[in-house]
């Protein structure tokens, strides 16, 4: 017989929280921009879990909220509501000081515009040393050179951004992002301005950093070249995660990609728009629980009449 105290104990013994052990956790994340009475809801309850050491791509149409998510994760923007935790740090409750420490040592960031990542009047090496100096660390020119070496741009060390190609600039930018040994690097369309060969190089550099340094890497991209080469691709639509594509290598060496729709914790699901259009699903659908799946049917004419 269960006693009242048993019930209390049961209540206080909470179930393992959503994504408790994830390296990056977003739970019901909301970000609203408000200007002159106009509200723009950039993130509308986004959920995302990323494990440590993962390399994932985030894809989505323009305005879907990808960049906002990345700005939130990089500590440059503060979400309006929800939960965001990176490497155990709660991004909503951080003080300004925490936030600075976070930017200095937990995350590294790479922007789309090559020119924006680097100070044009500093050499590649100086650019890499800059975050170390800002963090008040003893600058180690050796480490800067190692990073540039790892990313294959060792010869660019004494050059300024103006004297480098776009791909080299982006690889130096990755080195800059890695300067203070962050746990996470975030890249916002790092190959967006590059041709496919150069994109390949830059993505290769990112993957090398991920594999060799064990850094969790989150890449926002439109580039299929990138999105098709990562372990997991998360699709965002209207400020929510809508789909996930998992890739694994089959025994015969082929890459098998499986696309999943994302089911959130309360059971909401986004159907791909193509599916909905194909079956002219609108407003209401009919669900039927089968033994091993759930069937979704468009609301039929008979049903419309109340049958």
């Amino acid at each position: 017989m269960t006693t009242l105290s048993d019930l209390e104990a049961q209540a206080s013994r909470r179930a393992p929280a959503f994504g408790e052990h994830a390296h990056i956790l977003c739970d019901n994340l909301v970000r609203i921009y408000k200007t002159e009475g106009v509200e723009v809801v950039a993130l509308q309850g986004l959920d995302l879990l990323i494990e440590k050491g993962e390399l994932i791509a985030i894809v989505g149409a323009s305005g879907s909220g990808k960049s906002t998510l990345l700005n939130v994760l990089s500590g440059l923007d503060v979400p309006t509501a929800g939960l965001a935790r990176v490497a155990g740090m709660d991004l909503l409750s951080m003080t300004a000081k925490d936030r600075l420490r976070y930017r200095r040592s937990v995350v590294g960031f790479i922007w789309q515009q090559t020119a924006r990542n680097l100070l044009p009047y500093l050499t590649a090496r100086e650019n890499v040393l800059l975050p170390m100096k800002l963090a008040g660390q003893k600058t180690a020119a050796g480490r800067a050179d190692d990073l540039l070496e790892l990313l294959g741009v060792a010869d660019c060390a004494p050059r300024r951004p103006g004297q480098m190609s776009g791909g080299e600039q982006q690889r130096v930018a990755i080195a800059v992002a890695l300067a203070n040994s962050p746990e996470v690097i975030l890249a916002d369309e790092p190959t967006g301005e590059l041709d496919s060969d150069t994109s390949e190089e830059v993505f290769g550099a990112l993957r090398r950093a991920n594999r060799e340094l064990g850094v969790t890497a989150v890449i926002v991209t439109h580039d299929p070249l990138v999105s098709e080469q990562v372990d997991r691709t998360v699709g965002i639509r209207d400020g929510r995660t809508s789909s996930e594509t998992l890739r694994r290598t089959s025994e015969d060496g082929d890459v098998i990609a499986e696309e999943y729709a994302v089911l959130d914790r309360v059971g909401r699901l986004q159907l791909p728009r193509d599916f909905m259009n194909a079956l002219e699903m609108e407003r209401r659908v009919r669900l039927e629980l089968e033994r091993d799946h759930i069937g979704v049917w468009p609301a039929g004419a008979g049903e419309e009449n109340g049958e």
Binding site: T35, G75, L76, R103, L130, N180
Partner: protein, 889 residues
């Protein structure tokens, strides 16, 4: 972060900032120096206009008891030093040592009548005093006889048996005593009615250098004064004769003797800034002498000391003038400081905008706010500090004493600039990556801000109202400009600036609506852009507005001064030229003047000073044809009443004489004039305050004699020198409007004010131009992006240029209008507190609202600013560049 590198990267902007800092610091450090010099020149000029007797400190000592008689030169010397001990340090600084300049001592008797002449004929009403002046020995030339020597005794005076054993003192007299008083070398005078003494004239002298200020203290020994005896028809003659050291020993208590110690003041060492201290010092010294007379140590009630000087009064008068000048110049300086600070702030804004991308990246990469602000401020400091120092250093090239203001202002300016930079950087980088959604219009001002702005406007307007009702503190001795007088306009300017910023979109909306209905897209687009321009507009408005307001105010003040100066000159002369003489002006002279090239008309007049029969009143009487005179002065500020008409001798008379219907007066002839009306004054022809009688030119003829001319009023273009040559009469007094005006204008302070206003107006014009260009450059990236987009839609280069000008024009024009309005209102606000009479020669009663100069100023400033906008719009903007700029920002 390497600050040097940042400076190097943004060197062009840093250079602009540095140049602005240099110019501001130079202007604001140099102008006070220049002013101070003008003040000093003014005080020297004012002291130079009065005699040394007024400016020097003369101490008289009168012996109270016979023991106190000083009979030996050494006594004077020791007393000189003793009394000098009480001179306050500030006064001592301007006093020249004994033996130099006018510093000297001496002894004189006063009012010693010539009782009789021994061996000569007696003449009445003559006075000969004794003067012992050791300093005179080298300053006179003995032209007859020799210098006086030792005294002797005369046992008996022939014919005066009661006089026995009289002291005979040898004296030397000024040479003109022979002619004026009939006293020559060898004359023996019996001086004094009781206890007479005999003076034997041993020599006659002439003054070696009549201009030597030493003689201003001792005028009585340099000449014979002939003056009417009050209440009598007779005259009296006075002079003083020099005596020897031995004679000094004989000046006893029976003579009205007084001792003089003169502490000569070196006028060139009197500084305007020290004037209040000098005034206080003189007061202190007066008290010191009073204490000494009261029997202080070393002076047991022997001599009664008294201070004779007009220095305090002259300096007091000067301070009244100075206060007005200072108020005006502080106002100007304040305006200039505000404007230069605004331009500096704009340049700082430009520099921080340029550094923004780099600093944002650094901030995103983990720089703390402090690190970012430090780096940014260091860059600004590297640009500003050396430049400000250089400007301050260069200001030493401007002649003039340094003032606290000259040191403080550049420091304040630099600190404010750095603080502004720190504030801007802190605000811009408070949050990393602040540039989200910059396309949206900025948020509405917070209620707190609106309340603050409302308060500022209220304070500005309230201050102005208070100033108008309260006037200003009147005690000039308290020195300096009334701070309220200077602050109120600043508050008013700020209030006007805020109102302009808040209200300018309203008329713009109206115009935009009109432009929207018209076919061309450019005006509508340009005006819409103008109406949307945000924050960036505040600084140019706050620069342009005070710049124009101060310039307009300056023009009005200059105008008012100029106007009143001209009025004063007209009132002094009464005509373009006036020739006046006590005796009649001969006909041939009149004819010569009339024939002079340039002379268009000559009005004759007779002038005299007469006793009015009935009352014993005196009056100036003029015989002049008022109609001709009125034609002569037509177009000048002078007004002339209608000529008197009637039988007999019709006349206009001044108020005191109005009650009499007929007045009998003796002018050339006894005549009776008939009072036909009132006349208050004829400026230039009669002195104000005098009784005046004006009759027709033929008045004396109607009175039974003939016309009489001793004054000519000349119209036409003819200078004083020509007139002097033509008239050729030594005793004729010739005045022209031009010379009178020049006399009034050529005072150092008037010059300083005019120059200061010119410099400030030019500087502010330049600053306004820079402000507009810098403001445009700040928004250049955004504008280029918008324009390049519009260019892709088919906007031509020409249209793009028009668009840019249209975008900035409304704000400039509206600000110019507001500045003009403020400038026109300022005299109304400050006018009552400003006494411009000392610059104008007359009380400045009104500020004539001459719109021409201010309107021209406003138009010029607007044009210059718009030209700046046009130049910016024209200067090499290529679509490709613009597109690249757009992408990288």
């Amino acid at each position: 972060m390497n600050v040097w590198q940042l400076v190097k990267v943004h060197r062009a902007t840093a250079l602009v900032l540095a140049l602005l800092s240099l110019s501001a610091s130079l202007l604001l450090a140099a102008l006070p120096r220049g002013y101070e010099r003008a003040y000093d020149d003014a005080v020297h000029g004012m002291l130079g206009d009065v005699s040394a007797q007024v400016t020097d400190l003369g101490v008289t000592g009168r012996p109270i008891v016979s023991d106190a008689l000083l009979t030996h030169p050494a006594d004077f010397q020791s007393r000189y030093e003793e009394i000098a001990k009480g001179l306050p340090p500030r006064v001592r600084e301007v006093v020249v040592p004994l033996g130099q300049g006018t510093s000297h001592f001496g002894a004189k008797t006063t009012g010693t009548p010539v009782n009789d002449r021994i061996g000569g004929s007696r003449r009445n009403n003559q006075y000969v005093d004794f003067a012992w002046l050791p300093g005179a020995a080298t300053r006179v030339k003995w032209v007859k006889g020799e210098a006086p020597g030792a005294s002797s005794t005369l046992a008996r005076v022939p014919g005066r048996p009661e006089l026995k054993d009289l002291t005979v003192m040898e004296i030397g007299l000024v040479a003109e005593a022979v002619e004026e008083m009939g006293i020559d070398v060898g004359a023996t005078l019996l001086l004094g009615n009781s206890y007479p003494v005999v003076a034997k004239v041993t020599g006659l002298y002439e003054i070696a250098d009549a201009a030597d200020p030493y003689w201003e203290h001792n005028g009585e020994v340099t000449r014979v004064v002939e003056r009417p005896i009050p209440g009598s028809t007779e005259n009296e003659w006075l002079t003083a004769g020099l005596i020897s050291d031995d004679g000094l020993a004989k000046l006893d208590e029976r003579r009205e003797v007084s001792y003089w110690w003169v502490y000569g003041v070196d006028r060139t060492r009197v500084e305007a800034a020290a004037a209040p201290a000098l005034i206080t010092g003189i007061g202190d010294y007066q008290r010191f002498l009073g204490d000494l007379s009261g029997g202080g140590v070393g002076n047991p009630l022997e001599l009664r000391f008294e201070l004779w000087t007009g220095l305090g009064r002259v300096l007091g008068d000067f301070l009244v003038v100075l206060r007005t000048a200072e108020t005006l110049l502080y106002l100007l300086l304040g305006g200039l400081a505000v404007v230069s600070l605004g331009v500096l702030a704009l340049a700082v804004q430009l520099l921080t905008e340029r550094m923004r991308t780099g600093l944002s990246l650094v901030r995103a990469r983990g720089a703390s706010l402090a690190q970012v602000v430090r780096a940014g401020v260091a860059v600004v400091a590297l640009a500003v500090l050396p430049a400000a120092l250089a400007g301050y250093g260069l200001s030493y090239l401007v002649p003039g004493p340094s003032t606290p203001l000259a040191h403080v202002v550049p420091v304040v300016l630099t600190l404010t600039t750095l603080l502004f930079a720190a504030g801007r950087l802190a605000l811009a980088h408070r949050r990393p990556l602040k540039d989200t959604r910059s396309d949206l219009v900025s948020a509405r001002p917070s209620p707190r801000r609106i309340a603050l702005e409302f308060l500022v406007v209220l304070l500005g307007v309230g201050g102005a109202y208070l100033l108008r009702t309260r006037g200003v503190a009147s005690d000039a001795q308290e020195l300096g400009a009334d701070p309220f007088l200077v602050l109120a306009p600043a508050g008013l300017a700020l209030a006007a600036g805020i109102l302009t910023l808040r209200l300018y979109p309203l008329p713009l909306k109206l115009v935009t609506r009109l432009a929207g209905r018209r076919p061309g897209a450019v005006p509508f687009l340009g005006l819409t852009l103008a109406a949307r321009s945000r924050g960036g507009a505040a600084l140019p408005v706050l620069i342009l507005l005070p710049a124009l307001a101060v310039s307009v105010f300056g023009a009005l003040v200059s105008g008012a001064i100029g106007h009143t100066q001209s009025r004063a000159a007209w009132r002094d002369v009464g005509a373009p030229a006036r020739i006046e003489r006590a005796a009649e002006i001969p006909e041939d002279v009149v004819a010569r003047v009339e024939a002079l090239p340039g002379v268009t008309s000559v009005v004759r007049a007779g002038k005299g000073n007469v006793q009015v029969g009935i009352s014993g009143l005196r009056a100036t009487v003029l015989s002049i044809d008022l109609k001709d005179y009125r034609d002569l002065v037509a177009g000048t500020p002078l007004t002339v009443p209608d000529p008197p008409r009637g039988l007999g001798v019709p006349a206009l008379v001044s108020t005191t004489l109005v009650p009499y219907k007929e007045i009998e007066l003796g002018w050339h002839n006894r005549m009776t004039i008939r009072n036909m009306g009132r006349i208050d004054e004829l400026p230039g022809l009669s002195f104000p305050g005098e009784n005046l009688i004006v009759m027709p030119f033929d008045g004396p003829k109607r009175g039974g004699l003939r016309t009489y001319t001793n004054m000519l009023l000349v119209d036409g273009d003819v200078d004083r020198a020509t007139l002097e040559r033509t008239v050729g009469l030594a005793d004729a007094e010739i005045e022209t409007y031009a010379t009178a005006l020049a006399d009034i204008r050529n005072t150092p302070l008037t010059g300083a004010i005019t120059v200061a206003f010119t410099v400030a107006t030019l500087a502010m014009g330049a600053y306004a131009l820079i402000a507009v260009i810098v403001a445009l450059v700040i928004g250049a990236a955004d504008r280029a992006k918008a324009l390049s987009f519009l260019r892709t839609l088919g906007l031509s280069q020409h249209q793009a240029r028009t668009l840019t000008v249209l975008e900035v024009a409304p704000l400039i024009v509206l600000t110019a209008v507001a500045g003009l309005a403020l400038g026109l209102v300022l005299p109304l606000v400050i006018g009552p507190g400003l006494d411009l009479s000392s610059f104008a020669g007359l009380t400045v009663t009104d500020f004539p609202l001459t719109f021409t100069t201010p309107a021209l100023l406003a138009a010029a400033l607007t044009a210059v600013s718009l030209l700046g906008a046009f130049a910016h719009a024209t200067a090499g903007r290529r679509v490709t560049t613009a597109l690249r700029v757009g992408e990288s920002s």
